[in-house]
């Protein structure tokens, strides 16, 4: 697992590369939470285009960040998830709670806080 964080105008794009499971969840969670609070983030976009595997630990990471972002009055989106990931994103009910987009660009447009 590798990750990159890019912040611009209170929008944070978190690109997670490789595999997201229980082993990496804590590190991902802690890294994102510091950034969300420090930079007063309003839109958090998970760029999953380079993520090859995710299980329920990933669902937990996204749900947990959604809770945090709601407290700050912000939004969460997922972009670029492969079919296999979409399957568990839908099954978990996450797709009804957050925006699901094909690309980060779409998420930036669609997820804009008015």
């Amino acid at each position: 697992m590798d990750m990159t964080l890019t912040e611009h105008h209170k929008t944070l794009v978190v690109k997670i590369i490789g595999e997201l499971d229980h082993h990496y969840a804590t590190r991902i969670r802690e890294t994102i939470d510091i950034e969300i609070k420090d930079k007063d983030i309003r839109l958090l976009i998970f760029d999953l285009s380079a993520l090859e595997f995710m299980d329920s630990s990933g669902i937990g990471v996204i749900m947990g960040r959604l809770r945090l972002m709601k407290q700050q009055g912000g939004k969460v989106c997922v972009a670029g998830a492969k079919d296999s990931l979409n399957k568990i994103i839908c099954l978990s009910g996450l797709s009804g709670l957050i925006g699901i987009y094909h690309s980060v660009e779409e998420a930036m447009k669609g997820g804009q806080v008015a």
Binding site: D21, S56, I88
Partner: protein, 142 residues
């Protein structure tokens, strides 16, 4: 002779990826589709993570996996000798979790059930848990 493998490893989160990759490599002998392979790996990851997170809860212990092939049917058994489950029926409900504070969403058993053809959970408090999952892989069309 039947085709099977046995794995045995300590209850550490670093073995989660090793476990699902190994079962995936074993299942690959049946030429599964990309989707079938990903379903199997995800289900195994759920069962192993449960053994680490709930079964042993950070304590030392061993996790055992047996995989077998019979025709086009794959059977995966994941066993721990950890804390066990008091009420299996309740534990299997979607969204039921005993660890919400660790950001668990209660989806593991639901994922195993949906991604595999069948799931059996055998568990006893203080004895441990055995999860058996089966999946028949599609036949390749010529």
């Amino acid at each position: 002779m039947k085709d099977f493998i046995n794995l045995e490893f300590p209850s550490k989160s670093s073995y989660e990826s090793f476990a699902r990759a190994t079962v995936g490599a074993f299942a690959a002998r049946l030429d599964p589709t990309i989707e079938e392979l990903s379903d199997i790996k995800t289900a195994v990851s759920e069962a192993v993570t449960n053994a680490v997170v709930h079964g042993y809860r950070g304590k030392e212990g061993m996790i055992y996996i047996t995989c077998a092939l019979e025709g086009r049917e794959l059977t995966v058994e994941v066993t721990d000798q950890g804390s066990g489950i008091r009420d299996v029926e309740e534990a299997r409900q979607p969204l039921f979790t005993t660890k919400p504070e660790e950001e668990r969403s209660g989806m593991g058993f639901t994922i195993m059930e949906t991604f595999m053809d069948s799931l059996t959970v055998d568990s006893a408090p203080e004895k441990g848990t055995k999860v058996v999952m089966k999946k028949v892989l599609s036949t390749m069309e010529a």
